[in-house]
Structure formats: C-alpha cells, structure tokens
C-alpha cells in the first residue's frame, strides 16, 4: 500500500499538474471551497426568503428546496450536464457543471440549517429589536442572523463535510477529482484495488475528520458560553428540517 502511495502521491494530490489540468485532492478542495463560497450566501438568502412574510418569496424557495432535497445529487448533476448546454446553446465544462450543481444542492441544505437557526432564536429578540424601532431588514441583519448563524455553526461545519464528500460525484461526469484519480490509478495497476481504494477512503477521512473535530470543538465552546450565561438561551430544536447527506 505504501509503495502505491509513494508512486502515485503526486497524481493523487495534484493530478497531471503542472503538465496538465489540476486534479486529485487539490481539485477536490478547490471544488469544495468554490462550492461553499457561493452556496453559503445563497443558502442564507434562501432562508431569508423561506421565513419571509411574503408568499411570493417563501413559496418559490420552499418548492425549490423540496425539489432539491427530494432528488438524488447524481440526477441533478445529470440534469445540469446533459440539459443545460442544450438550453443555453453552448458547451459548459464538467467542472463548472459540478460547481453549479453543488452550489444549488448545498444551498438548499444550508438554507434549512439557517432557517432552523432563525426559528430557534427566542421571539423576544425580534420583539425587542422591533420595539427599539429597527425595521424588519435591520432586525434580521443586526439581531437575528448573527445569533442564528453563531448557534448553527456546528451544523454549518458538518454541512461543509458533506460538501467535500459530495464532490466525489464529479466522478460520474469525469471531473478529475480525487475519486476519479483513484479510479485511474486503479485502472493502471489493475491488481490492487483494495489498496488503492483504501488510500482513497483514508484521504477523504483525513480531510473530513479534521473538519468534524472542528465542529465538535466549536459545539462545546458554544455550549460552554451558553452555560456561563453570556448568551441568551435558545430553546432546543428537534431538527425535523435539517438534513445531512
């Protein structure tokens, strides 16, 4: 196993870079970061639409979220891969296709997390903000969202783990990320699939487990701050709407 790792470490980490396109673990991380960078603001925006008193905003966002949550990611990727080029009239790279799909998919899940955060912020917070004369927008922006996002930080981080894992779907449309690279190494070695895929699993584990530990540390810190009375108490949420994949 070690000799496979040594011989293929460059390919696993960077793909064919600098002689070709970047791939491997580097591409997996690029995909995750780009995906999250766009998915997070979109998720917050969707959550604001979802809790908004205007039906014209809350209904479409609810429909979008139910559709995205009810369909497998692979199906969504195929939709973008096969149908979007036909609709917009020119080819889109597999990388862009995957990023756009990941953004929409993760935004739907992040939206549900942020929504749970907003809804579990005590009502008194909104009421006091409003009675101090803040408008709806200012209340959200300065009072509710900062608390909601802080309280939901652990869930948001575990959603980041999901994003890293979901980039592996790039394999089905031949994006050269980590899973695809491992499959290529396996195809050239042929005789040691167990070792190759163990390396693949362990690499993902190293990245995702580090993120998971961060989430635990932050969760404990939040619990401690709340116990010491520095934070307003948040009623416990049984998240029937927070999904994980």
């Amino acid at each position: 196993m070690l000799d496979i790792l040594i011989h293929n470490s460059h390919f696993l980490l960077l793909g064919q870079y600098p002689d070709g396109p970047i791939g491997g673990l580097a591409l997996t991380l690029i995909l995750s970061l780009t995906g999250l960078a766009f998915a997070f603001p979109l998720g917050v925006l969707l959550a604001l639409c979802r809790v908004s008193p205007y039906k014209a905003l809350s209904v479409p966002s609810a429909v979008l979220i139910y559709i995205v949550r009810g369909v497998p990611l692979v199906m969504l990727v195929f939709w973008s891969y096969f149908l979007v080029p036909g609709l917009i009239g020119h080819l889109v790279s597999a990388f862009t296709t995957l990023v756009v799909t990941l953004v929409i998919y993760q935004a739907a899940y992040l939206c549900e997390i942020v929504r749970a955060g907003i809804e579990s912020t005590p009502k008194g917070q909104t009421e006091s903000a409003r009675s101090l004369g803040l408008g709806y927008g200012a209340t959200m922006r300065h009072v509710i969202l900062p608390q909601a996002l802080y309280n939901m930080l652990p869930s948001i981080l575990s959603q980041c783990v999901s994003t890293v894992k979901d980039t592996s779907i790039g394999y089905v449309i031949s994006v050269q990320e980590l899973t695809f690279s491992a499959q290529q190494i396996n195809a050239s070695l042929l005789t040691q699939p167990f070792q190759v895929f163990s390396i693949l699993a362990l690499t993902y584990f190293a990245v995702c487990y580090a993120l998971t530990r961060c989430a635990h540390v932050i969760e404990r810190r939040i619990a401690r701050r709340r116990a010491s009375g520095k934070m307003p108490d948040v009623r416990s949420v049984i998240n029937d709407s927070v999904f994980q994949s």
């Binding site: 899973t179 699939p193 167990f194 895929f197 163990s198 993902y204 998240n239 029937d240 994980q244």
Partner: protein, 232 residues
C-alpha cells in the same frame, strides 16, 4: 416547450419494462440496505449505552469512518477492493450471484447504520436516567427495561432525524449505478442512450425520485405526529 415533448418511445414496451425493473431494483436496494442499517444501527446504539470503554471507542470509530468518507468511495472499496481479499471460490460465487447488488446493499447498509446509530443514541440520551432506574427497581432486567421502557421512548425522539436519513438512504441508492447496479438512475441513463429523449427520460426519473422522497417525508411526518409523546 412542453408541447414538443414526446414520451411515446419511452413508454413503448421494452423501455417501459426497463424503467419498471429499474424502479424495482431501487426499491429492493432501499429495503435490503434499510433493514441492515436499522438493525445494526440499533444494535450499535444500544451497545454504546452499556458503558464499556472499548466497545464505546470501537463504535465511535465505526461511526467516524462511515460519516467522513463519501458513499461513492465506500462503494468502490466494497465492490472493487473487498473481493480481492477473498479466496477465488468465494469470488466466483459472488460474481455468479449478482455481486454488485450484494455489495451495494452492504456498503449502503453499513454506512447508513452509522447515521442511524447516532440518531438513536441521541434519542437514548434524551430519555431521563430516572426512567431506567424506575424500570430496574420494578424488577425488569436490563434487556427488558431497554425493550419495554427506554427504546420505545427514544425511538420517538429519534424519529425525525431517522426519517431524514431514510430519505438520504433512498437517494443514495442512485450511487449504486457507479458499480453497475441496474437501478433507476442506471436505467434512466440507459434509456437515454437508446432513445436520445434526454429531457423526457430525465423528467420521468426525477419525478419518480421526487414522488418517493416526498412520500417518505410525508409518511415520516405523519408517524412523528401520531407517536409524539404528549408534553408534560
């Protein structure tokens, strides 16, 4: 745009038959992996409550591995990697008996068991300790107090995340297409290759997935409502 859609070649006999078979495989895969995941998940969550530090660490490691490695990588490890560790005769037997389906069930079931065990564990922890002590002092054995007092309550508390993960399990069956299980997504791609009715066939596939997912969510919400313990 909808006026230009043509479903006739998809609904012609062989393709429709394919689609139904694909759906059956998806249902069967969901069922087998669900049974495995639910049984193993419950067992692991219960084992963890017994307070043996070695078992505790073992289960925690199991959960950490399965939650931090993508489903696809786990599928590949099981389907391509694991058989090479077996003797030749076992490999031949597995190949002759639909190895891809067996390994897809195993991979999915073992992975989702990790999520289920966490759901149930959080349910178990939410049951007050007094319940356990009361059951024991009434003369119930450890197993019986688990079976009749603790588990029924924790299942109710664990129900919402349990349902969510069941929907995730159902959606994840689509990944089995990557190792050649002829389930719904695989069939959809197959029919697309034959008929070139890309939009139509993906529309059908998506609607089927959506309908089943939403039904699962709806059924889950109904069960949660019906079994909810009245607030004290």
């Amino acid at each position: 745009m909808l006026a230009h859609l043509n479903f006739s070649s998809i609904f012609a006999a062989p393709n429709l038959q394919h689609l139904v078979w694909g759906l059956q495989y998806t249902a069967l895969l969901t069922l087998t992996s669900w049974l495995l995941a639910a049984a193993l998940g419950t067992a692991m969550a219960t084992l963890r409550t017994m307070g043996n530090p070695f078992v505790e660490r073992l289960v925690a490691g199991y959960v950490a591995y399965h939650q931090n490695v993508p489903m696809l990588a786990q599928l590949f490890l099981w389907y391509f990697g694991f058989p090479t560790l077996l003797p030749d005769s076992a490999q031949t037997w597995i190949n002759a008996h639909g190895g891809e389906f067996i390994f897809a069930s195993l991979a999915l079931g073992l992975c989702m068991a990790a999520y289920y065990s966490e759901d149930i564990r959080s349910g178990l922890r939410a049951v007050p300790h007094g319940q356990h002590e009361a059951a024991r002092s009434l003369g119930l054995s450890y197993a019986k107090s688990m079976r009749y007092v603790i588990l029924p309550q924790s299942f109710r508390i664990a129900m919402p995340p349990f349902i969510n993960h069941t929907v995730v399990l159902f959606k994840n069956t689509s990944l089995a297409m990557a190792i050649g299980v002829a389930e719904l997504t695989y069939t959809v791609r197959d029919i697309e290759n034959q008929t070139f009715k890309t939009f139509e066939i993906y529309l059908i596939g998506t609607v089927v997935y959506l309908a089943i997912s939403l039904s699962l969510m709806g059924a889950g919400a109904a069960i949660t409502r019906r079994t909810r313990i009245a607030a004290k």
